[in-house]
Structures are given as C-alpha cells and as structure tokens.
Symmetry: D2
Subunit: 278 residues, 4 copies
Amino acid sequence: MTITARPADRLLDAVRGGAQIYDLGRLLTIGMPQSPNHPPFWLSMPRRHGDGVRADGGSAANDLLVMGTHVGTHVDALAHVSHEGRLYGGADAADAQVGGRFADLGVHTVAPMLRRGVLLDVPAVLGEDCPPGYEITPADLDAAVRRQGTPVGPGDVALVRSGWGRLFDHEDRTRYVGFESGVPGVSTAGAQWLAAREVHAAGADTIAFERLRPGEGHASLPAHRVLIVEHGVYLVEAMALDELARDEVYEFTFIMAPLPIFGATGSPVRPLAVVARG
Amino acid sequence: MTITARPADRLLDAVRGGAQIYDLGRLLTIGMPQSPNHPPFWLSMPRRHGDGVRADGGSAANDLLVMGTHVGTHVDALAHVSHEGRLYGGADAADAQVGGRFADLGVHTVAPMLRRGVLLDVPAVLGEDCPPGYEITPADLDAAVRRQGTPVGPGDVALVRSGWGRLFDHEDRTRYVGFESGVPGVSTAGAQWLAAREVHAAGADTIAFERLRPGEGHASLPAHRVLIVEHGVYLVEAMALDELARDEVYEFTFIMAPLPIFGATGSPVRPLAVVARG
Amino acid sequence: MTITARPADRLLDAVRGGAQIYDLGRLLTIGMPQSPNHPPFWLSMPRRHGDGVRADGGSAANDLLVMGTHVGTHVDALAHVSHEGRLYGGADAADAQVGGRFADLGVHTVAPMLRRGVLLDVPAVLGEDCPPGYEITPADLDAAVRRQGTPVGPGDVALVRSGWGRLFDHEDRTRYVGFESGVPGVSTAGAQWLAAREVHAAGADTIAFERLRPGEGHASLPAHRVLIVEHGVYLVEAMALDELARDEVYEFTFIMAPLPIFGATGSPVRPLAVVARG
Amino acid sequence: MTITARPADRLLDAVRGGAQIYDLGRLLTIGMPQSPNHPPFWLSMPRRHGDGVRADGGSAANDLLVMGTHVGTHVDALAHVSHEGRLYGGADAADAQVGGRFADLGVHTVAPMLRRGVLLDVPAVLGEDCPPGYEITPADLDAAVRRQGTPVGPGDVALVRSGWGRLFDHEDRTRYVGFESGVPGVSTAGAQWLAAREVHAAGADTIAFERLRPGEGHASLPAHRVLIVEHGVYLVEAMALDELARDEVYEFTFIMAPLPIFGATGSPVRPLAVVARG
C-alpha cells in the first residue's frame, strides 16, 4: 500500500534551488488611484479582536471588502470589452450578459498562468520615462527587444513598462489616473505588434494599459479592441514593474492566478515574476 | 548597450518542459456556502455592454464586488486570530488594530508562496472520507506520510484532505458549513504535529480548517490558536483538493499569491499545485 | 425688513397639540430575514472611536453599509417589476434600464407621502392570524372595512395586516421568508380590490406583500403585476403592523419618505402612522 | 362587532385640507460630493428586467447599494462623535462600541421626528450667500430670528442656511466639500446659541454642518462637540434648503424618520418640511 518511487519534479527542484520572486501587484489601500468608472476600493472590519472573545480566550477579527474588479492591479477578462456589440469570438454581448454574469468569457475562465514573461522596458530605450500621453510605437517595442535580447513569442506574457508607475503612490491621486495630462502606452499599432506575436496576455504599469490622450480619458480604447476583442489577449493593468527594470530582469516565469469570480469581467490579481538562475 | 548573455533559468526551463497545474481554488458564486460570521459574497454589474457605447463602437462592462475576506478559498493572515488579547509574536491585539487595519500582521505581509507542497490524503488512509466531526489525529497524519512516502518538513505547505470538499457544491448550502453535523479536521494534537514540522502554511478542504464538533460551530478553535497565534503558520481554507487525490499527486510546487489588501485579516486566493515530471 | 404676520399652520397646530407616532419600520440588523434574491444587509464600522483622535480630543466613528434595496422594510418603485417586457405606463423595460438606472420610474420619483392611511386588520376578521399561504380575499378586505368602519378610497395608503409579522424576529430566520410554508397575503383578486379603490400605495407585514404558495417562493407574483405594472401602485413590504392592530388604530396619517436613490428599483424606508386625536 | 364612532384626527384633517411638502433631501447619485472620510455611495443592479423572466411573463429588477451612513443628506446619531473618549451622557466610547455597533446611542435610537422646524436664513440677513469659511455668529442667528419673526425654542429643529448648498450640483465635486476654500457654518458660539435654545436637532446645507476653515477640513469640529457630545442634539447635514428660502417658509412641520440601522452612527435621510396654511 505504500507509495515509494516518487518521480523527480523539475519545477520543484528549480524552486528548491532558490528562486527570486518579484511582486508585480500594488498594495490595495483606501484612497489609492483608480478610475472613477469603477466602484472604489473600501475595507472595513466588522469584527475586531475583543468584540467577541470565546470561552477559551480566542478572538477573531474579519473584514468587509468592497471594490470594483478593475481597481488596483487587475486583469481584464475577455468579457470586459465589446466592439459593435460583439465579444471576442463573435458572441453577441447583449445575449452573453443576460443574468448579470458572463458564463462563457467571465474571469473564471481565465486559466492560471505559468508562462514565459518578457518585460519591454521602454524608458531604457528612450533614455527617460515615457512622457504623459506618449504613444509607445512598434519601433519602441522593437528597440526594447533588441536592447534586451528578449524576443516576444506565442504564448508569452509581455509587460510594457512606461515608467508611469512611479506616480501610483503620488500624494495627488489624480496624477496616476492622468485624465488631464494623458497617460503613455501602446495604441493601435503597438497592440497589433503584440497581437502579431501571439502573446497570451499583456500588461502595463498604467491604469488602462494603453495610451490615453490628454483630456480624453477612456473616450477611445483602440488597444483594448485589438487585443481583447480581436485577439483574445488578456490585459493586466496597474502593475508594479520598476523593480524588474531596476534589476534588468527582462525574461522570467510569469505567474498569475485571477480569482475565479464566476461571470465577472475582471479580477484583482497579484502577479509574480520569478527567476531561478544560479 | 545591447544585453546579450541571458543566463539559463531553471524554473523557466521546467515550465517550458511542460507543467500540469491543479487549481485548488473554488469558484466564487453568489450563494456558495460560507460562514455566517463573514459578509456574504455578492457581485453585480454596474455597467453592461450597451449602457454606454463610445463613438468608436466600443463598450465596457464592469463589476461591483462585495465580500468578506474569509469566504471562498481564502488565507488567514496572522492578524486574524488572537489569544487572550495577544497576536502572534506577542503584540497586543487591541493596539495592533487601531485605525481599522493591521499594519504589521495584515494579509499584505503574507509573501507570495512558491514552495514545496504536500497533500496529506487522510481518506486514503482511512479507506473512506472522514466522517462529520471526525478529529484527524497525528496517527492519521503519520499514516498518510508513510503511505505516500512524502514527509513534511520546514517551510513546506501541508494540505490536509478530509474528503469534506465533496459537499462544497451540495444543493443544501448548509451541509458544507456543517454546523449541525460537525466538520472533520485536525484539532490541537494535529495542529501541534504540523507546527512541530515547521510548516509555512497549512490548508484543508473545509470551511474552518480544523475539526468542528457537532452543533458547536466556531465556539472553540484550538488549531487556529496553535498554528496562527503560537507558531505563525498561515491557514488556507475551503480548498479544492479532490483532483490532487484522484491523481495521487502528493508532492508538488505550491503557488499562492494573496491579494495585498493593506491591513486586512485575510484574502481570497486561488492556490495552485504544479507538477513538472517526465 | 422684519416679517411679522405668520399665518396659522393647521398641521403644525395639530402636531403641537400632541401626536402619537407608530413606527412601522423594522430594525435593520445583520442576519434579519430577507429574500435570497437580494444582497444581504451588512454593516461595518471602518472607523471606531480612538482610531484617530484629533488634537482637540474629538473622535468620530462611521459606517460602511451594504444592502439590497428590497431588504428590511422597503418600498418597491414602479421600475421594480415588468410584465412581458413592459413597465407601468407601457415603457419598454429593456430601454428604460440602459445605463443601469431607471431615470423615469426609479425610486427617486416616488414623492414623499403624507396621506390618509388605513389598516385592514384581517386577523381581527378571521379571529386568528392568517395561516401560511392563506389568500386574503376581497371578502376578507370588505369584512375588515365593515368591521372597522374605515372605507378605502382614492389616494389612500392601505396596509393589509396578516399577522405574519410576528415571525420577523423568530430565531429561525427562514420562517418569516416562508419558502416551504407559504406566506399569507392578497393575490390577484385582492390586488384588484385595492386597485379598484385607487389606492396610492399598499403595504403588508410580509416579505413580498402578496400571498406566496407553499414551496413556490416568488415563482409567480400576480399582485405585483396588477398593482405595480397595471396600476402604478407602490408596494411597501416587511412592515411592522402589530402595534396599530393592538391599539385598534385603523385610520391615520401615513408618512413615508423613500430615499431618493437615483434610478434604483426600491428603497429601505421607515414609514410612520400618526394619530392626533383628543 | 363593528366599530363606528371614529374620533376626529386633527392631523389628518390638516393633511386633507392641503399641505405643501418641501423635500430637503439630496438625490443620491454616484459621484455626488461627499467627504473622503466615508465610504462612497455606489449602486448597481444585480438583476435587470429580462435576466430571469417567470413563466407568467413577470420580471423583477433589483439593486445592490453600498454607501457610508454619512453621505448624501444624513443624520448623525449621538454615537457618531466622542470627546476625550466619552459619548453624550458620559458613556465610555471604547466600551460602547464593542461588537461593532452602538446598542445605546446608535441611529436606531433616534426617534422619528414630527416637530416644529425653523429655517434660519443667514444669507437673507447678510444680503449674500455666506462666503467660504465664514463663521455664522450668534448675532447672525439673532438677526435671522428677528427678521423672520420665528424664535427658536425647546424641542424645535433648527435649520441653518448658509447658501453653500448651491454648490452641491457643481460639476467640480470638490467645490461643495470645500477643503481648500473652507465652508461656512456655525462654530462654537453658534452651536452654543442653538444648545441654549434646547433644540432637538439642527441641520445645515453643508457637508459637515459647521464652519470648516480653509485647508483644514475636519481637523477640528467644535460644534459637533458642543451639540452632539455635550447636549445630545442630532445634526443633519447636506440638506437642500434653497426652496424654503425662496418661498420664505421659515416655520414648518419638520418630518424625518432615520433608517433604524441597528447600532450605526448615522443614516441617510430624506427630511421634509411641510406647511398647511390657507
């Protein structure tokens, strides 16, 4: 009845050999910058220690969490965006959402990711952080690949760094949102560059992944259309990418497990980049 | 300026060689079984496709999420439980919670986990699923280790399977909660067994990790005291462990990244068990 | 510049002469009985006294409130119910709800009520509380009017008491909801009786105003159709009517001011019945 | 068995004779101005018409409501504010809040109000709306009483109009909050003036009832201390008072029924001012 021969596990061996984990998720705090389109993050403790102490001296504190699914570092499910009434794959958006949840393209259908990840460090190419409203072009992406020696291929997760993430903790919470200033990122051409490489997911250090023009907010989101609706590429937003850039970690194992919220359009996530060199 | 020599990454090589991912998180759905001590999971779409179509034909749907942090598959932060007014490490619980968040032991302090995991399949030892209210003993845990050939050691994540998880999707949502029937799990002695092996975290396929006596609910939670308060071991509850048991996967890479909710006592999670053999 | 001649105010004179207020609203508490169709009531204090004390010694505590709008004592706006895709007045329900709020028939359009109210005390006619699932008939309503000497007329608010309200505080929270047992109330004929009298609103001491058949829950709600969709009569549910019956107060000034939640389908309320005799 | 002699009801007679209702509550809308200290108002429809149509053709839409209890027009319960650890009446604030609700001074203990109300129209005295940060003095209040001919007395509800309410619907939502500019209102002396007249409650057309100095926000709230902690006077904030002033309605029946949220520190309300002259 005893099981004896345990096969070697290459992954576990690698982990045991020592792996460095980069945390790409932002702290979730009340008042953090987020789009006014989404319900704000809020947290409260219904029960604190001492509210109800059990006979054995034990006490438990707990929380009530309220938030949109597109606040903090989060992933967009394919159900999040439609174009002319159609979702990725051609489904009718109005039909798909009957009942108030997306059974087919909701975030619960996003498989956990354990994939090759590539950071595309655009500021390292430009020699400075991307200016507000700057459109990251295919030429910029090509230059980043060349500089880093890390081509992007099918199934990869590509993280486009603009440098805008430095504003996430700015005391003026509107700075990161960037409605007035605009926000840097890829637009149609950059999205097509990513789609052509058949990435599985793409991420950025900004609130909406793509370039926002000054004063226009989310009035037009062509990269969402190209990547989500046309190519079924998941988008990850509000990522913390500065440590990867600082350490010049351009290729890594990308790990992300969205919460399986049945039928939802997105999920908060805490993505990881892991390296195990030695 | 070009970076050329990319060092080999053992982890990434293992991932590319093919890895099987077991999803240990439960679907988050309205009406799923949960403890009445915690705010119920609820989800709603403020915006559906068609509510506001942009000039370019695009439309976005989003969500409002309300939930306790101890519902669905979730991790308990060390701040969750106190004993006689003290948290793990001896901090005064009343002082630690001033401001409504735990700056020191909140769930944002739980580092992402990429560790050896071990499933302890108790039903395989007993020859049947653990009965309601059954206390899993050190002898049961020893027997599982012997049967599987997988000792538990320092830094590991130990997942104790009782078989109770089969009730998670039962149409009577009170069955899984098990107030009347009791729920199987370790109690003081089993918790000490785990603590003695210096596990980093422990999980179970039940709602409160530990054994609940029939009709008593959460009136006494000694395993929480031993593991969380006395030894600083994180607990993961309401896990889906049946697929691991079915496939006789007893050792694996355990991956879990709790949401970094600043100051909270817990977080919903989607833990993974990964194997890369062959 | 001084204004001198203040006209007499009959209402204020009546109030000053002494008025007795009956509180027809239920306490809102965590765990109170409510329909599983609606988001549960939950409350938590983000800030308690002592969390942040100002330099002057002051401190403020506050709350986070989460709830459906059809929990506790509440009013149904006309937007709440549709029949074959049409709302009261014939508007297309699908069109009316675009944007996620009902600009036209939302609860913000319910004017505050200061009207004649009539209690129809059916148990006083039957000689006992209405049995579970009992249909209150036009004959019952006629008998109540005769017994009390209080005809119901245009613009009145009619409150139909079944006696079921005694279960609101029952320790088994499912009793009041009454899915298995059924719940007493008017059905189609009783609703037509009310509509024929051109009442402005109607209320009851039950969770869904109308009779629910045993084991059927909300599978069919003909009185909602008749009153809300066909006649534009507001419904008030889960009222506390026992004190009025005890004191044999059958006619009164009914006062209710729903929260003006823009576009919502209902609102929690605290209705009052006031008498000023003497 | 028939009841015949119905006594005359002076209140009901007054209502039937024709009463004019002034609605003093603000519309509750997503994005309305509110203090960042409190959880934002948010609303979403979990179920829309068509999501689930019953066999008989009926369909119901509903809502999920999330909000602080001090947003929109709202009343402060006595539990809301403490001074040096004491609540009104001397109770220890820390003790009173154990369990996360105030059993004694929570908003459920605020009796419905049906009382004489007086508007104190300060802009009519000043000849202009109160400037930002203006302190309304006892002399201003005396002048308003003289001008209007409406003394304030024991048990009354006094509503202090500053004119600031005109900013509630300003497209810049920060204007009404007034952190930078300051907000007009009474301060210590004005609060003492009200307390000396033994008012039951006091209200204003501003977000915090009392004067806020420019750039200081809620750093010091002496009028809250005087009225709530020292004298047990309820405060009503963010009221709509302009229509009363426009119509020169200075004395009226004030009606307000806070939601009986067990243990909460406040409640959204829709207060009414009613006149029945003629």
